[in-house]
Subunit: 203 residues, 2 copies
């Protein structure tokens, strides 16, 4: 059974909320509580989760630790994926030092740039690698995920390199659309896009 | 007529693609070309745009400059909105220096932090302001938009302050959900959420 991508897209939000409840020592939750926290209806949450199995009992709610374990397995983040950061500007810098990947299933493993001033310099615990070695290093380390933080002008060219190296997921911070084969997934982070969507509602 | 938020959410993507076409000197486009570029069906694009007016002619496509002008007006980004950045860590730093807001309708106007080591220090063209002055400075400058780049532990508290100061749109980089009144819009940027959504598809 193929799960709609929009459902897949909500699971990380459920997981994040559950992990936060768990960190506060909470043991059980309900679709109602989760829904209020996330601004999603309780019925939607029950329906989404029921696509993957029977995770709660009518009237007793969800065991948080159990549901976390299930969701991590479904999302394949019950392991740690190495991630390559491409581009060592401000955004790449922030990503390489970001503490928010721990316990979410990801670890930055290497950082690349093409700028001779940056190659060989430290960023957090990394040394910036020459983008000329991107293909070899990514294949060698069997990396499947990249975060793209290069200027828009070279984003497509670097994307093509990443795809050639076997990358299957790209989180694109460059403010341009990138074209990939159907087997590769792309998500975009462009703060202007989010701000514009909200500006529509400004009074 | 109320436009569904999911339609509003696609308009910034149309606008970004059109602006990129325009920058390359292109004058006319079609829903087919836009669709191929964005991975959205041509029919969907025509339907979305038709909710706001008659922007193209059957068979002759869309005049890019005209459609850009219309979309900027619809999204209320035919002006420049001042934005407050709260939190001067790596992410706040990257946002304060980000060049991607120019020509998209936004301008960072001030940066706040609570850390005495950071207050008074320069970030790009800004001096970090004391978060104790957040309410007064945001009201004084009539700022309606904030980007929240503080630790998760204080995100809700800072959000409450922003709402009290009159902020209507919050772009939340803190890795927690924040609760706001119905009149306030929130969008979240959490790279782990995006990476997890794509991890589901990894082979």
């Amino acid at each position: 059974m193929q799960i709609p991508d929009i459902v897949v897209g909500r699971l990380p939000h459920y997981l994040r909320a559950l992990q936060q409840m768990s960190q506060k020592g909470q043991v059980v939750t309900s679709s109602k509580e989760l829904g209020e926290r996330l601004g999603i209806s309780a019925a939607q949450i029950r329906k989404d989760l029921s696509q993957f199995g029977e995770f709660g009992k009518q009237g007793t709610g969800y065991q948080i630790e159990f549901l976390i374990k299930q969701l991590r397995a479904i999302l394949k983040v019950d392991r740690v994926w190495d991630v390559a950061v491409v581009g060592a500007g401000d955004v790449g810098h922030a990503l390489a030092r970001y503490q928010g990947f721990a316990n979410r299933g990801f670890r930055v493993a290497m950082v690349f740039d093409s700028d001779l001033q940056k190659i060989g310099q430290p960023i957090g615990e990394f040394v910036v690698q020459d983008i000329a070695n991107l293909n070899a290093m990514i294949q060698e380390a069997n990396i499947k995920i990249a975060m793209l933080a290069v200027p828009g002008t070279v984003a497509q060219q670097v994307t093509d390199e990443l795809v050639k190296a076997g990358v299957q997921s790209i989180l694109n911070y460059a403010p341009v659309n990138i074209i990939v084969p159907p087997s590769v997934h792309v998500q975009h982070i462009d703060p202007s896009i989010h701000l514009q969507r909200m500006a529509y509602y400004l009074k």
